[in-house]
Symmetry: C2
Subunit: 770 residues, 2 copies
């Protein structure tokens, strides 16, 4: 941006779709980033929590005197200190318990000068328990006479959902084939590399600042406040860099109010950090469920109906996990053109760990069912699954029975692209033909797809975002945005969009976010919404700034503003690219004139989406998207081990904004989906987790990632920023049933109780053979 | 703000003029505040600077090998590492020197793991000097053949200023009396309780973040950039809480680029902190000068002319100190109605320490002269000084010869108020009459006044401020303001004004400032401007927010917006105070409606003031103000010790905003002025400071503060926020000559070379008697 560049035309170029590095990447790669777990505040105390370590019990007596007397201990809290401070989706949780309902129930907490002292203090707390009979499955919980987990929830009934559409009896009668199966998706957990951590501190006016990993800072205040008996307005939420979240931080969990209660009592900042074992035991899970699904079709392969009867293992408390039927029913009713739908779901309290939200949010479980039943039906009608899918695929402009409006629908294109790129049909026939041949290793190929919201979801009263944008005298841009960066890459997207609109280098954009006192409102990172919503908000704010700048330039230069553009750090003539004035010089002239004009704009963007409503009929997202995965695997029929050889992805992304970020999200999402499909499993025995470590709980890590071939379908979403859609959940959702279908292709077996671990697969193959 | 309060009318009340606690006070009083000096960043290195310790020398050789090899040392820099990176007002300074021009010249700097290692590394640096003959007074520096301090400043001439108005010869001829004296104001320093400190860190895109005590973050970037060879846009300035500034942080000083150069070289954050001794030696001073002043009057007490010939001891480099003639000439020309003026000033380089800006900025020195000459002339014409002052006092609507427009002038009212409250005239006669009586202790009373800008000063291209204000769903207000809090209390003022305008509790206002990437532009804390400028900016932003809120309320409630007001957390009918809707409920309704509306406003306020210009004729401040101090003292004629018994202050404050903050500023300002008058003195011997400690350099501390009686005159400044004027410098300016005049009243002696220390006063009394 040298002055002497004036005169050389600057060509029109776009950053949209380019590969842009995350601004936080170099600091993270070189160890400079200070994660919340690294943070130390002056005078900070360390807290430790005493967990019950048993699934269901009455607390007979609790003695904390010895702990309180230990030098260096500043406070010991027990259930009485949180009495009445109910919080959570059903107001059934409390920071410190007076009764034990699951293994990780918080019985006491200590704040001390050091972690070592806090640990020793925990050992000095005496608790006398009276164990109670437990409930370890939803079936058991629903049974007449089952032990009651919450006195005010008779029959252990938590939540229920229902949606019906069309004449089921008629549809059943018209069906030539029906796939009827019971799927039992399992408990997994997020396994964030940064364990749960919160730091709380009160100032002298009683205002709480909480440093937390939360993904939704604004509603978080509302959710945290009742756990502390506070006004939400008196809470400031700061989100330092976090080592993963994936939906696990979309609610308040007890360690957060515990930190705050201890900070209040001690008058000092208090930090709680989980060990890895605590993280496994005490952080939320993906919802386990029993899904009884039936899907019908005619003999010529037209879907006739789909029903799902879902029973969720609610666990001991109600976080967002049991609300996943909201999305489960969208998939049940909208995954392919299903004319008749009957969906019901109920959640039953158990003494198991409880679930929060998790990337894919119910759709991982449901697609595991729907996508396998599509494969089963294709088999029944003896069609190539690709043809069966294509026959039932919606087209642009269709509505689902719940009134999701598929304005731009690329399901068929995704199917054709992935199938063609992987040579799906030929391989599938070939592998199926070889199924009965002798040999230990069998190859299989499987195709699966799903639908997901791709423009947020109006679950809360607003799905919008606030943005404040200022441009300084050196043409450096600061964007104060409600969008939270939790590692997913939104800062890169915001940076790219500002650079695109204002013609400044990427390095000249600074993002200010993750502090609820500074940044304006946003509903948080979830529902594949952030690039869509914050992208729109950023673009609108940047365009307001541009309009102001070009108007001033036009006035100063005596040119019509609409003939001007910002490019390469200059105001240029749009048509020819001739630079007229350096942007930063213009900004200084605007600033240092008699009537100074600084560029500071604000915006609030609300997507065009409709609240879910009690009837569940609404266009609840501003966009929807599809993805198709083709998985190619080799099965060791002796050990049951599945090796994934290659994954071909075709996903409707609307339009690519940051290609590198998009690829990263797809890869990361598939890694989570692969773990879910193949190896991750919380092994619970009577509510107690038996494998709380990375030795016994197997994640898919980088060296185990198969080759991925990514195809991005650009449908140019009318409402999305530059046409983009949200993209981050589908990769996690689609891979498991693709592998399940490949397993069937290879060996003729299906696994209804994932994960498809070697043991489970080997048993299934053995049983099928004998 | 309970809902059931609906119905009970809420009376109109104002916070303007109330006593409001500084929001940062409790944290400071309880030790919770983390000052910059307390800050520790991850991986931070500590730097130490090697000072020359001699006033003028050539560096023959410098060897750093041994220091570099010391384990724990990460970088050693010398003059070659800063070669060519000139900075400062006259671009005559550099972070690390290749020639020594004053005792505290920075010869080398080290960054190491610990302070101890850095200290040891300094000891290992070998420097061979060739001492040069020095220049230790401006007279010596101006002399033909004097040693040259900077090769490119021949004759050691630094800056010069001139202003003439009217026919001096005619005025002299018309004068019956002329006071003609030479004043020699001395070197003092700011003595901030928090010593100089900076932390610098570069990110991976080469952007520098500097945590600093600076008072002017935005122009600071521009001033720091050349010292580093950087683009100012690549600098982020964060101002953590500081232990005092008082003008000492209105420029870049070498330790700041040194921290940045070391950070760049090491790739780690680097912190520099001065010891108290280093602070005395290496931080800026108040400008020492020689002021030859002449003031004439007629025999009936009408001023005829004033001339000042000022020679400033520039010191070794040019910071803002030598620019004080800009203000000196305003006082020379505008302190009382002076029809003819002849002002000239020049600054001469010496090998003494150099001056920055300091509260009172040249007016402390000049008022010490003007206010004593007024007393001398009153004596010559045998008038009560009060009458003499009143006779020459300007009235509202007058212009000074430099065209300062005294729109609201309360000089006469200040004089009368202070004189009456202290019984000045009677006591003065009585003490003068007792002067010749025997007795060791003599009482005296002295009156002095001054004029100062009270609405900022257009020294830079803009004297404005940017403000961003948002109101959240709980009616909590965040103000993102360019105004820096450096302990002076602006956060309390901003808070008060927001609460006043929006009818919310003070506790519900959060200020976000002191970070140049977040807050919008402001010219910094100086020239008694912040309450005036930021007060106006805040009020304008708050009023925009109010207009938006009341418009929305009017629409929702079906009322005319102009009949509504915000009071006590409610929208009320202005006339009767009847609450109509809780503000926070209204805000949520605005947010959660189909077309959401969030309250986020921006403002840039530029005062109506004119650039100084080369001719020095302009209305350079948006307001002017006067203060009168009456000092009552007891002089121990044996020891020369002056005990101040009482100070009566009358100051035109325009309108009181925060009474407690105002009182604090007046008290603090007088404490600094008292030290200047009585005890503080940098004792320089051949350019070397001989008293760099609080044992040998005597501050006035709390127990030594005399009783103060404060009278605030409210002139309701048309341009000021609610009528307020800036107030913070006059207290420091006026007290010394009031004491000097009291000393004359008590003993008949005048001190032309302050401070009026016991030794100086005793000598003067002795000489007068013998």
């Amino acid at each position: 941006m040298k002055r002497d560049a004036i005169g050389t035309p600057i060509a029109r170029q776009t950053l949209i779709g380019q590969r842009v590095r995350k601004p936080d990447a170099p600091e993270k790669a070189t160890g400079k980033t200070r994660y919340i777990n690294d943070m130390v505040l002056p005078q900070m105390l360390t807290a430790k929590v005493l967990f019950a370590g048993r699934p269901h019990a009455r607390i007979v007596r609790i003695a904390t005197d010895a702990a309180e007397k230990l030098p260096g201990v500043h406070a010991v809290l027990t259930g009485k200190d949180a009495a009445g401070l109910k919080f959570g989706f059903s107001r059934d949780n409390v920071a410190l318990k007076d009764k034990v309902r699951c293994e990780h129930d918080e019985v006491a907490a200590v704040a001390a000068e050091t972690e070592e002292i806090a640990r020793r203090a925990l050992e000095l707390i005496e608790v006398e328990y009276e164990d109670l009979p437990g409930v370890f499955s939803p079936e058991a919980g629903a049974r007449e006479g089952a032990p009651l987990i919450h006195d005010n929830f008779p029959g252990n009934r938590s939540l229920h959902f229902e949606f019906k559409h069309g004449d089921l009896a008629a549809a059943e009668a018209a069906s030539d084939f029906v796939a009827d199966s019971v799927f039992r998706p399992h408990h997994v957990t997020h396994c964030c590399m940064g364990t749960s951590c919160a730091i709380a501190d009160f100032d002298h006016k009683g205002k709480l600042t909480i440093w937390t990993q939360t993904q939704y800072p604004y509603n978080y205040k509302m959710d945290l406040a009742p756990a502390l008996g506070m006004d939400p307005g008196d809470i400031r939420v700061i989100q330092p860099p976090v080592g993963g979240a994936f939906g696990s931080k979309l609610d308040v969990y007890p360690y957060e109010p515990i930190a705050a209660l201890l900070a209040k009592k001690t008058g000092r900042p208090v930090k709680v950090t989980f060990t890895r074992e605590e993280e496994f035991k005490a952080s939320p899970t993906r919802q386990a469920a029993i899904i009884h699904m039936r899907t019908g079709c005619t003999c010529d392969g037209v879907l006739t109906f789909r029903t799902a009867d879902v029973v969720l293992d609610n666990g001991a408390y109600t976080s967002w996990g049991p609300t996943i039927p909201v999305i489960m029913m969208r998939t049940t009713s909208g995954h392919y053109r299903v004319p008749v739908v009957d969906f019901k779901a109920q959640a039953i309290y158990t003494n198991n760990p409880y679930a929060g939200s998790f990337r894919g949010y119910g759709n991982v479980q449901t697609t595991y069912a729907t996508a396998q039943q599509m494969d089963m039906l294709a088999d029944m009608v003896d069609m190539d699954p690709l043809d069966f899918h294509l026959k039932n695929a919606q087209k642009s402009g269709e509505y689902t029975p719940q009134k999701s409006f598929l304005r731009e629908c690329a399901l068929a294109e995704c199917l054709e692209t992935a199938a063609k790129a992987s040579d799906y049909s030929r391989k599938r026939r070939e592998y199926a033909a070889r199924r009965a041949e002798p040999g230990r290793y069998k190859k299989g190929i499987g195709l699966a797809s799903s639908i997901h919201n791709a423009g947020g979801a109006k679950i809360h009263k607003s799905d919008g975002i606030g943005t404040i944008l200022k441009v300084d005298d050196y043409a450096r841009v600061t964007v104060i945005t409600g969008a939270s960066e939790i590692g997913q890459g939104i800062d890169a997207v915001v940076t790219l969009i500002v650079a695109e609109e204002l013609g400044v280098p990427l390095e000249h954009v600074t993002i200010v976010n993750n502090d609820s006192d500074i940044a304006p409102w946003d509903v948080g990172v979830h529902a594949s919404r952030t690039t869509f919503i914050a992208g729109n908000g950023t673009r609108r704010a940047a365009r307001k700034a541009k309009a102001q700048i070009l108007a001033a330039a036009g006035k100063m230069l005596g040119e019509a503003a609409e003939t001007l553009e910002l490019r390469g750090g200059f105001v240029v003539r749009d048509a020819c690219g001739t630079p007229l004035i350096e942007l930063e010089r213009l900004l200084r002239r605007m600033h240092f004139q008699d009537e100074p004009e600084l560029v500071m704009v604000t915006d609030y963007y609300e997507p065009k989406s409709e609240p879910e409503g009690a009837a569940h009929v609404s266009d609840h997202s501003a966009a929807y998207s599809h993805a198709v995965h083709v998985a190619e695997i080799t099965v060791d029929t002796l050990t049951g081990e599945i090796k994934v050889d290659r994954i071909t992805v075709a996903q409707d992304v609307g339009r690519i904004i940051n290609r590198m970020g998009l690829e990263g999200q797809i890869e990361g999402g598939i890694a989570i989906g692969l773990g879910y499909a193949l190896s991750e499993n919380m092994r619970l025995v009577d509510g107690m987790l038996t494998n709380p470590s990375f030795r016994d709980y197997k994640l898919v890590t980088a060296p185990e990632m198969p080759p991925l071939e990514l195809h991005f379908i650009e449908t140019h979403c009318a409402e999305g920023p530059y046409g983009a859609k949200g993209i981050s959940e589908l990769p996690t959702i689609v891979i498991a049933p693709a592998i399940a279908n490949a397993l069937y292709n290879a060996c003729g077996v299906r696994i209804f109780n994932p994960p498809m671990s070697p043991e489970t697969v080997a048993r299934a193959i053995h049983e099928a053979r004998h």
